[in-house]
């Protein structure tokens, strides 16, 4: 008896997402006539939503994007992205909206401005510098004192 009660109480937690995933909330189309559930209608909009959602960090997860995260807040934030795009706002505007609410932290890639450029520039500089070092080293090491021989 206690098990059944616990089951129901804990299962009731999940009634929420089901109810809020009703029509008009950005969820898949409602009440399919046949047995097959149709996916969201506008795949171009979905593609643009995914692209932006992959750049936004889920506030209640560890490092996941709102595109990847199965959590409820992530789904809701995706709805906001979708609605704003559908209303004609640009991707930059949508990102700016979330930054104005959550701070720069919400962007999964640091905006390439100011001190953040270190993170982008350093690897490139290391590759260039390293290639130079390798070229110089190979040059130094092949000016051979020993006579060169072939197989």
């Amino acid at each position: 008896m206690k098990c059944a009660v616990r089951f129901v109480v804990v299962a009731a937690l999940w009634a929420g997402p089901l109810a809020s995933a009703g029509p008009g909330q950005g969820a898949p189309a409602s009440a399919p006539p046949s047995g097959v559930v149709t996916p969201a209608v506008d795949s171009a909009l979905e593609a643009r939503t995914s692209a932006i959602a992959s750049q936004l960090r889920c506030p209640v997860c560890q490092g996941l994007s709102i595109q990847a995260s199965p959590s409820e807040l992530a789904q809701q934030m995706r709805s906001v992205v979708r609605d704003q795009l559908a209303a004609g706002r640009s991707p930059a505007d949508v990102q700016a909206y979330f930054v104005s609410k959550y701070g720069e932290w919400i962007l999964l890639s640091p905006a390439p401005r100011g001190i953040n450029l270190i993170v982008y520039a350093l690897p490139v500089l290391l590759v260039l510098g390293g290639l130079l070092a390798v070229v110089l080293a190979v040059r130094r090491w092949t000016t051979a004192p020993a006579e060169s021989v072939t197989h």
Binding site: G63, A68, E104, S109, I115, P123, V127, V134, W141, V149
Partner: protein, 677 residues
């Protein structure tokens, strides 16, 4: 009783270690047999004591001895025996105990297998290993003490973290990770030992270190793949790598260790890159300590972060000591380590090794800077920023593409020098592999430019590596008249390190192709289904059969049964679940995965109605994911092949040391070419 035994053993071990370090310093300076025996004895005794302590903990866990604080923290009578045993490493204190045990084991094996070696290298290395052990022993009797007495003794406990009870890989990933991670202490100890004993200029320590690095590297590679697989099967988002700080912490030492495996060969053959190699070995160890500091100090938030406390400060002190000692020691020895380099030609395997080291190191720095940058940005600007998956993916893809290409060119080029003709003969034919794989990928629908580049170059490199194997088999067949199968085995047996290298490369190509396909050609769909309704993905139809619930000893489970419908018939069933543990507020999902050679259908249960009238599932199709796990297995096989000791090394080494000489018959030359490392 268990607590007393465990804590007592650890207290004694601290004393033993301190005495051992003292003996080791004397042994290193005076080099008398008495002192050497003393430090070796300390190593063995420490191993025995830590084993007793670990054994006491396992006994305490299995017998549900809740008077021991760690058992009270992670034990539970409801937890099945299997998960009770592996809960040894499920929380902070137990994992530190496990670390200490693995370290003491490595130290004992290192000393035992090298006990007859003359000189001060091994005594100093043993001292270095004991010094690292000292840190963990202090943690274990201090802030990370798992053997605190709990009074009054509780009758039951909360059980281990639910996320860790869900999958069998939890038994596999942490031990492998510790064997790999902690194993990197051994090369470090050899480097320190060589610097302190003055042997750093010789080649002896590099051969020893190379072998031990290969062992740890094998474990670490297996651990990373196992971690990816566990994350994929358990966490419910269908991904296997998120560039989380703790994932990066395991990946960075892997990168530098891989670089070392290659540059060590350069040093063995040519006496080159000596300072560089010491830097790599020391850097790998520093990265392991840095990694563990990041996840245990609370300094960076991560999926893996253990609960924080004063232990972070201990790790900070330790890493400061390690950094100061390492950088000081290496810088101080740097003038003895200038390269005596000589290369025959730029068109040689040596150059490829240099490039390989460059790109692996740049990759490591990219990950390091990205992981630490949030801290730097906050220090400078006072603003919190995130550095996540999009950044790491974008920055690492070009490097990965270059590395995949180098892995094909390197094995194809000979040591020393390659004539223009040879270059053409070796480097042009593998392009057929490029064309083939590119065609297949395009036909399968792959359109992402980066993924196509990876697959195309992997095709090149697979053929390049395979050709080397075939050429070798052909040489044996012609020289000794062996049948192809025998030729293959003899080839593998004849030069284990090289053959293991080919295998490991091929494993990496499989992993790269798996990752390229599954990330660029993934498709997903979310659907709310009533029983009888279906959802389609990638040409496959799944129909919901039923929603059910059941009670297990340690949790309540809610699941959905879905059927794969092909041509009107049920081909298979798949059952994603949601697990509710009493100790946790959030349920833990168990996604269901149906694997085939070409990809996985991945189903995660997102939500359900309490009356079972409908469920929300997310269905993902992930092409070629099983190739990642299979590739990992091949990499490990390669490592095993390389480690197995080889007979008749001496004669071959004499050959290998000289630059490639002429004055041999063409066939014999070919033979020598494929048999020398």
């Amino acid at each position: 009783m268990n607590g007393l035994i465990g804590h007592g053993a650890l207290l004694i071990s601290v004393a033993v270690i301190v005495l051992g370090i003292g003996a080791g310093v004397m042994a290193g300076r005076l080099r008398t047999q008495d002192w050497i025996n003393a430090v070796y004895s300390a190593v063995y005794t420490n191993f025995a004591l830590v084993t007793i302590a670990t054994g006491a903990m396992v006994v305490a866990l299995v017998t549900h001895d809740f008077s021991v604080s760690y058992v009270a923290q992670v034990g539970s009578r409801a937890t099945p025996l299997f998960y009770t045993i592996i809960s040894l490493w499920s929380a902070l204190e137990g994992s530190i105990l496990f670390w200490g045990w693995v370290l003491s084991l490595y130290a004992a094996v290192v000393v035992w297998t090298n006990r007859r070696r003359a000189g001060a290298l091994v005594p100093w290395s043993a001292t270095a290993l004991l010094s690292v052990s000292l840190f963990f022993a202090i943690l274990l009797i201090g802030p990370a003490n798992p053997f605190h007495l709990v009074y009054p003794v509780p009758t039951d406990g909360p059980g281990p973290n639910p996320l860790l009870q869900n999958h069998i890989l939890m038994a596999v990933h942490p031990p492998l990770l510790y064997l790999g991670y902690v194993g990197m202490t051994v090369p470090f100890a050899f480097a320190v030992g060589a610097m302190l004993s003055g042997e750093i200029g010789s080649n002896d320590w590099i051969k020893l270190t190379h072998r031990w690095t290969l062992l740890s590297w094998g474990f670490l590679s297996a651990a990373i793949i196992a971690g990816m697989w566990w994350s994929y099967e358990v966490l419910g988002w269908g991904g296997y790598w998120a560039w989380d700080p703790v994932e990066n912490a395991s990946f960075m030492p892997w990168l530098t260790a891989t670089a070392f495996l290659h540059s060590a060969i350069m040093q063995e053959r040519r006496g080159m890159l000596r300072l560089w190699n010491v830097n790599l070995v020391v850097g790998t160890f520093v990265l392991t300590i840095l990694g563990t500091f990041l996840t245990r100090s609370g300094i960076i938030s991560s999926v893996h972060a253990f609960t924080t406390g004063t232990i972070g400060y201990f790790f900070l002190a330790f890493i400061a000591l390690v950094l100061v000692a390492s950088l000081g020691l290496v810088a101080g020895n740097s003038d003895r380590l200038g390269s005596v380099g000589h290369l025959d030609s730029a068109a040689s395997r040596e150059t490829v090794f240099l490039l390989n080291n460059l790109f692996l190191t740049v990759f490591m720095f990219t990950v390091l800077v990205g992981t630490l940058f949030p801290l730097v940005a906050e220090a400078i600007r006072g603003v919190k920023v995130s550095v996540g998956e999009p950044f790491f993916n974008r920055m690492s893809l070009p490097v990965v593409i270059v590395l995949v290409f180098l892995m094909g060119v390197g094995p194809a080029l000979p040591w020393g020098r390659a004539s223009r003709d040879e270059l053409r003969r070796k480097l042009v034919p593998p392009a057929a592999g490029t064309a083939l794989l590119l065609a297949i990928a395009l036909a399968a629908g792959m359109r992402n430019a980066y993924a196509l580049a990876v697959v195309a170059l992997a095709g090149y490199s697979i053929v390049a590596n395979a050709r080397e194997i075939v050429i070798g088999m052909q040489a044996r067949h012609e020289a000794h008249g062996e049948a192809w199968g025998v030729a293959l085995l003899k080839l593998a047996g004849g030069n284990r390190r090289r053959f293991g290298g080919y295998l490991a490369h091929i494993g990496v190509f499989a992993v790269a192709i798996g990752i390229a396909a599954s990330s660029s050609m993934r498709s997903d769909r979310e659907a709310t289904l009533k029983p009888g309704e279906s959802v389609t993905i990638a040409g496959r139809t799944l129909r919901l059969k039923s929603v059910w619930g059941r009670e297990e000893t340690q949790r309540s489970v809610v699941g959905a049964t879905l059927e794969f419908v092909e041509n009107g018939r049920v081909a298979a069933i798949i059952e994603p679940r949601m697990n509710f543990y009493p100790a946790s507020q959030q349920p833990v999902p168990t996604p269901a995965v149906r694997s085939s050679l070409l990809g996985d259908v991945y189903v995660n249960l997102q939500a359900f109605r309490p009356d079972g009238s409908n469920v929300t599932v997310k269905v993902i199709y992930e092409p070629l994911v099983p190739w990642i796990w299979a590739g990992g297995l091949i990499v490990v096989l390669g490592a095993i092949t390389s480690i197995l000791p080889q007979r008749v090394r001496v004669a071959r080494e004499a050959d290998a040391r000289q630059p490639a000489t002429g004055a041999r018959g063409a066939l014999a030359g070919l033979h020598a070419n494929v048999e020398a490392t």
